[in-house]
Symmetry: C2
């Protein structure tokens, strides 16, 4: 198969990370998700804690946009806010890994960062609320009493972060080649469905 | 294969009708789209012209909602507005055809009307603007100078009609099992991709 990069965006509880892992295994290529933070940290001198802190802030959309918009008051690259510098560093690292060869990238606005790359296929995974709750409790081990709140907050932070940095709308089909409700077919079949699409893509 | 109903919702220029036709041919089942209007007309004594007029009004969302909300001033089923009576008649006919056996239904809010039917798979087809324009001009024969306006108005009317009658948002992935950008793989491969999904659906 030609060089392929598959990006996976996903709602909390849709099984997106596991699907990304299985897809990468089946293709024999690396899978990047939060693990890419280590590489960003190493290459840019950020601490892992600082980066996770920057992402957590996205839950509070307006405060996040404020803390992203205002830099240090100086001029030059150092004048950018920490959030902006982190996002730009992530931008560079994601382009680097995509150029290194085939891979699967879960989350991290990769669909936007790699827009215009002809070898990229963008997938969005979602499911009905009751299916996501079931998976989060049974497979991720999230306590039942907290699951709705955690699910809501995680997706809200993902949407705020994506919408702020990309000017697009997270989960809008137009950003993806394929959107799949993961509640109606098995995980391995979803992996095969994505591969079916990828293998048939037309050269454009 | 077990009894299957596949509903196709689609943006203008995405090739949805042709995909629905090919899907129905491959499955050897009937395909319903605007043709269902004849059956609704026959069973309910509406004229075809009146029904098409009611749908055209949807382009003007607010006026459509007004003309749908106000009945004749009388009580009983006759007091419903013409738009509402037509939608309810369509409701009955779509449930009838779904209960008659496997079929493909293009448009007509069928995903909403058949919600809760376990044998139904809902598909949304879309594409990037330049791909839709190319298809509309080359395949549907729409004059190039009018294509953007026709595309915009058709999708606006579809969205208004759907959103008004269902309380949902047209094109929101949560309403569909599968959403496919039809600009990146061939029509026959899209038919096979939908069948791949349908054949693997879990009994729920």
């Amino acid at each position: 198969m030609k060089n392929r990069v598959i990006t996976i965006s996903r709602e909390f509880g849709s099984g997106g990370r596991l699907i990304g892992q299985k897809l990468a295994e089946k293709l024999g290529v690396p899978m990047y998700d939060k693990t890419i933070l280590d590489r960003i940290a190493e290459e840019n001198g950020f601490s892992r804690e600082m980066m996770e802190e920057a992402e957590k802030k996205a839950l509070h959309g307006f405060l996040y946009s404020l803390s992203s918009a205002f830099g240090t008051g100086e001029t030059g690259p150092e004048s950018l806010s920490l959030n902006e510098r982190f996002f730009l560093a992530q931008f560079d690292t994601i382009r680097e890994v995509a150029e290194e060869g085939s891979c699967v990238i879960v989350g991290r606005c990769a669909d936007y960062i790699l827009r215009g790359y002809p070898e990229v296929t963008n997938v969005f995974l979602y499911a009905e609320e009751e299916d996501k709750i079931k998976r989060a409790v049974e497979e991720y081990g999230v306590p039942e009493k907290d699951v709705k709140k955690i699910m809501h907050n995680t997706d809200k932070a993902r949407a705020n972060y994506y919408n702020y940095h990309t000017g697009r709308k997270w989960g809008d089909p137009v950003n993806y080649n394929l959107c799949i409700d993961t509640g109606y077919i098995g995980i391995d079949d979803i992996v095969d469905l994505i591969l079916f699409y990828v293998e048939r893509e037309i050269e454009r």
